[in-house]
């Protein structure tokens, strides 16, 4: 289970909805009581009133009535699948497959009812919170210990005193060690803030809360009720100091992680340029547009798959990788053959021509796909985040870091270990010599440019996950890409890697201190100064060859 889902299961909704929570608290206390049939009818009737207040009360009543399919009804409500037939006021659960069942009994709905016009029970955030709180009530009794632990953690964060009896009851019955620990922390969180608890018990509870060590624990200890005994306050202060020491380390780690993640985005964006510009010497201002083409290829692939092979939907992003490579690569080869090959040895003119190409490509995409953003979906396996020691890592960022490194490694292998790579290096180092040795230099030029463009396209697949897929996508990355390549040292892939990561980390370390804008400015100035110090970048080629 991811940290994110744990967070989202809110018990008692932050403790701010007084009346409702009291109701829920009572409902929890009355868990043992048998469900009465008329109570359930009353609860369901509340859903048909089409008012948020009534819906909210109905949720509380439903929890109190605790029917066997209560969790299912709440889940349906939360995801907008709970409907009712206005005339007979029958409440129905619409299942994911479109089938209807009666909320009252869980039996399939008759065709007669299903045929009538149905209204969906409307939901807003307040209702959603109530649904989550209600689900929490069911979850404390759930058969899955992880769910029970999650529910307990939600109580920990809400520290709603009304839940104490329910927690203690659950503790008495709990057998699973993990869930038990969570329940005990939840109990401690309540006791800490409970003015009438014995002092010794409160101090022990403070220690238990401090042991949790996260942001929520800090919030609990920071908001002790006024007039708590001195000893409790002292213990809390010690706990806060301890947590904050750890938080400052965790923050640093978090920023480093963010930096690596930003760095890998920069690496992806720049690595294609490291080939077209770094290796071939083409100042390719249309590089960003190759990234954009890759992103649009992803969009198209996803749509095609959704329309024609829905079974592959989850893998559409993976399928998009080769597609984006080929599409962007093909565009790259076309550009090389029609424009760039006439301009070798005139690097500054390639700048102008490729700038023109980039304008044309942008406008072409705008004409084809329209100027607005296109939606590229994030597959389920890339959603959410995991939390390790208070440092949260989002899955898609982790995926991008790994993907960037993979692309880098692949490219290194290609250039170092294959005959194509050898030919590429031969041509870029000494075109005439390579030509006289029988290498078809024109073909290699086209392939190399295609390779760089293709890699840029692959970067587009990744960037479609975190940024706009719009005709302007590439523009946002072109300056950063050039800076990365130049900072790392032209012609050196390792330089690009180190350059991208160090710029990313530096940016993220500066950001909390200077703010996003000033941080970026400071970084740009630092890079400018660095280039003065080492005019050929981090990993400069040395010796006579450079002068040629």
């Amino acid at each position: 289970m991811t940290g994110q889902t744990m967070r989202s299961i809110r018990f008692f909704g932050g403790g701010r909805c007084g009346a409702l929570l009291l109701l829920l608290g009572l409902a929890l206390c009355a868990l043992a009581a048998p469900a009465r049939a008329d109570a359930l009818d009353d609860a369901l009737a509340g859903f048909t009133a089409d008012k948020y207040d009534d819906t909210e009360k109905a949720i509380a009543a439903l929890v109190a009535a605790a029917p066997p399919n209560g969790a299912e009804i709440l889940a349906a409500l939360g995801s907008g699948r709970l409907a009712y037939e206005p005339e007979s006021r029958t409440v129905l659960v619409r299942h994911a497959d479109g089938k209807l069942s009666l909320a009252r009994t869980g039996e399939p709905a008759s065709a007669e009812i299903a045929g009538k016009p149905l209204k969906t029970v409307r939901v807003n955030n307040r209702i959603r919170r109530a649904v989550e709180a209600g689900s929490g009530a069911f979850a404390l009794r759930a058969p899955d210990p992880a769910k029970r632990a999650a529910a307990a953690r939600a109580v920990f964060r809400s520290r709603e005193a009304a839940a104490l009896p329910a927690i203690e009851a659950a503790l008495a019955a709990e057998t699973d060690a993990g869930a038990r620990a969570a329940l005990e922390q939840a109990r401690a969180a309540i006791i800490v803030s409970k003015p009438d608890a014995p002092e010794a018990e409160r101090i022990a509870a403070v220690d238990a809360v401090a042991a949790a060590g996260d942001q929520d624990a800090l919030a609990i200890l920071n908001s002790l009720p006024a007039g708590s005994p001195q000893a409790v306050n002292d213990a809390a202060a010690a706990g806060i100091a301890k947590i904050e020491r750890w938080r400052s380390i965790a923050n640093l780690i978090q920023n480093l992680v963010y930096g690596v993640s930003l760095g890998s985005v920069l690496l992806l964006a720049a690595i294609g340029l490291a080939i077209t510009f770094g290796v071939m010497g083409v100042i390719n201002m249309a590089h960003g547009e190759m990234v954009m083409i890759g992103a649009y290829a992803t969009f198209l692939t996803q749509n095609l798959i959704r329309a024609h092979a829905p079974a592959l939907d989850g893998a559409s992003l993976l399928i998009a990788i080769p597609v984006a490579f080929l599409v962007a690569g093909a565009v790259g080869v076309a550009i090389e053959r029609t424009v760039i090959r006439f301009l070798y040895g005139r690097p500054l003119e390639t700048l102008l021509a490729t700038w023109g190409v980039s304008l044309i490509l942008q406008q072409a995409v705008r004409t084809l796909f329209g100027p607005s953003n296109r939606e590229v979906q994030t597959p389920d396996w890339l959603q959410g985040s995991i939390e390790i020691l208070g440092v949260s890592l989002t899955l898609n960022r982790i995926a991008i870091v790994l993907f960037a490194l993979l692309v880098f490694a692949g490219l290194q292998l290609l250039l170092r270990r294959t005959s194509l790579g050898l030919q590429v290096r031969a041509v870029t180092q000494n075109r005439r010599m390579a030509g006289s040795m029988g290498i078809r230099t024109a073909r290699i030029d086209a392939l190399t440019f295609g390779l760089g463009s293709g890699v840029a396209g692959v970067a587009g697949v990744a960037l479609s996950q975190i940024d706009n897929v719009s005709p302007n996508l590439g523009q946002g990355y072109i300056i950063d890409s050039f800076l990365v390549v130049v900072f790392g040292g032209v012609g050196n892939l390792w330089g690009t890697l180190v350059g991208a990561l160090s710029i990313g980390v530096a940016n993220k370390l500066l950001e909390p201190w200077a703010g996003a804008v000033l941080g970026k400015i400071v970084l740009l100035v630092a890079i400018i100064l660095f280039i003065q110090k080492k005019p050929r970048g981090l990993f400069a080629l040395k010796g006579r060859a450079v002068e040629a």
Binding site: T5, N124, S372, Q383, A516
Partner: protein, 431 residues
């Protein structure tokens, strides 16, 4: 020596071509009324503005089917100011002096409006500005059909206070004038409501900001202090997609920390997978999902016109719809397209909006609008969760800013855009 003669000759030819002007059929000018459309079709703002150009073309087309205005057909003149602010001024001048348009519908960003303002004043023409903006302005030649801050931001905050019981606020915006003003107004408003300094966090990011990791995690931290927290987002355009993607990925759910946005509409959501964003809010004066016969007709017309059954509508489009129809009525009332007469005829003009009310042009050149709060649905549309009972009158000068609380705009009686109610003089704060 004679080498450069050819070049100069070419320049001369080019200049001559320019002087003779675009192929504007001078003869046609008599039997049509020209309507200028000044929206960026390229550059960074094309993403938002192109739709408005299409909307205007549709509205003009419809009007022509109804017989045009004053017995003449309307002729749209489209130019591309290319998201380049000085170019906006240049193109405005071109529309007014060269194409002789009777009215211009255009601009999106505040800076583009500020850039064209002197041109409209100098050449005495009319601009309809359809986007929600920061207020603090009322000009004789401009009609503001988008929301002023009191028609969007304040009702949204009220809703969050009441419905979501929010006590702690993150005001996150792009660093430009609209978010700065809106946040200033909101800060004053929240403090007036008893919110403490430490419960307000203000954050500005540059345009097109794409790496939101740090800020979203800061918001999470700020929101875990035990009080219900909400984010009021005035983040602009392009930066929203990565912002929402990061929110979704870091698991900030609407039930934990709701985000209410003033610049995110159906068009922006079209580029995002909205499933993780369900429940986040937006405040507008129009949502596509509003069920009224007028809106249904409008949507059908739009989809037919664009030949795209999935094309969405949005708030600024409705603003143009209202503004255009008001202009048509005012021209018919004045019996001429003469700017002075139309400017005088516009205040008081009423036009049914698409959400079931009747908007009215006020003497301060703003209009009355309903305020709607919508929650994002998983299909990229909004569920309207709140709607003001009555239409809210647009306020050019905010009551919550020290510099402008004494100012009033009234172009009917006072003939002044910045009348000082204290000094009883036209001309701002005075000295």
């Amino acid at each position: 020596m004679r080498t450069f003669l050819g070049g100069l000759a070419a320049a001369g030819a080019m200049a001559a071509a320019l002087l003779t002007g675009a192929p504007a059929p001078a003869a046609a000018a008599d039997d049509t009324i020209k309507v200028g459309i000044l929206h960026s079709l390229s550059g960074t703002m094309a993403i938002s503005e192109t739709t408005l150009k299409d909307a205007m073309l549709m509205l003009i087309d419809e009007q022509n089917k109804k017989g045009g205005v004053l017995g003449k057909k309307l002729e749209p003149v489209v130019v591309d100011p290319a998201s380049n602010w000085p170019l906006f001024a240049e193109k405005a001048r071109e529309l007014i002096t060269k194409d002789k348009v009777a009215v211009v519908f255009g601009c999106w960003t505040s800076v583009s409006r500020k850039s064209v303002l002197p041109v409209f004043k100098e050449l005495n023409s009319i601009l309809f500005y359809p986007v929600q903006y920061e207020g603090e302005e009322s000009e004789r030649n401009v009609f503001y059909t988008g929301a002023a801050p009191n028609q969007q931001a304040i009702p949204a905050v009220d809703y969050l206070m009441k419905e979501e019981e929010v006590q702690r606020w993150v005001l996150a915006g792009t660093d430009y004038v609209y978010p700065r003003t809106t946040n200033k107004i909101l800060e004053a408003y929240l403090k007036a409501k008893g919110v403490k300094d430490e419960d307000i966090m203000i954050n500005y990011t540059p345009f097109g900001h794409s790496d939101w990791q740090t800020i979203v995690s800061d918001i999470k931290k700020f929101g875990s202090a035990g009080k219900k927290t909400a984010v009021v987002s005035t983040i602009n355009g392009d930066a929203n997609v990565p912002f929402y993607k990061e929110l979704g990925n870091q698991g900030v759910k609407a039930t934990d920390i709701p985000v209410v946005a003033f610049s995110v509409g159906e068009e922006e959501l079209a580029g995002i997978d909205t499933a993780p964003l369900v429940g986040h809010l937006a405040a507008w004066n129009y949502f596509e999902s509003v069920e009224t016969p007028e809106n249904k007709a409008f949507i059908d017309q739009w989809r037919a016109f664009t030949r795209n059954p999935k094309r969405v509508t949005n708030d600024p489009m409705e603003a143009h719809y209202i503004g255009f129809n008001m202009w048509v009525k005012a021209v018919e009332k004045a019996g001429t397209t003469d700017p002075d007469k139309v400017i005088d005829a516009l205040p008081g003009t009423e036009q049914a909006n698409l959400t079931g009310g009747v908007s009215k042009m006020l003497p301060n050149h703003h209009i009355t609008k309903p305020v709607l709060i919508g929650e994002i649905r998983d299909d990229g549309q909004f569920d309207v969760v709140s709607k003001t009972d009555e239409l809210v009158a647009g306020d050019a000068w905010s009551d919550f800013l020290p510099g402008s609380k004494d100012l009033e705009a009234d172009w009917v009686d006072l003939k002044c855009g910045n009348y000082n109610a204290k000094t009883k003089k036209c001309g701002g704060q005075g000295s």
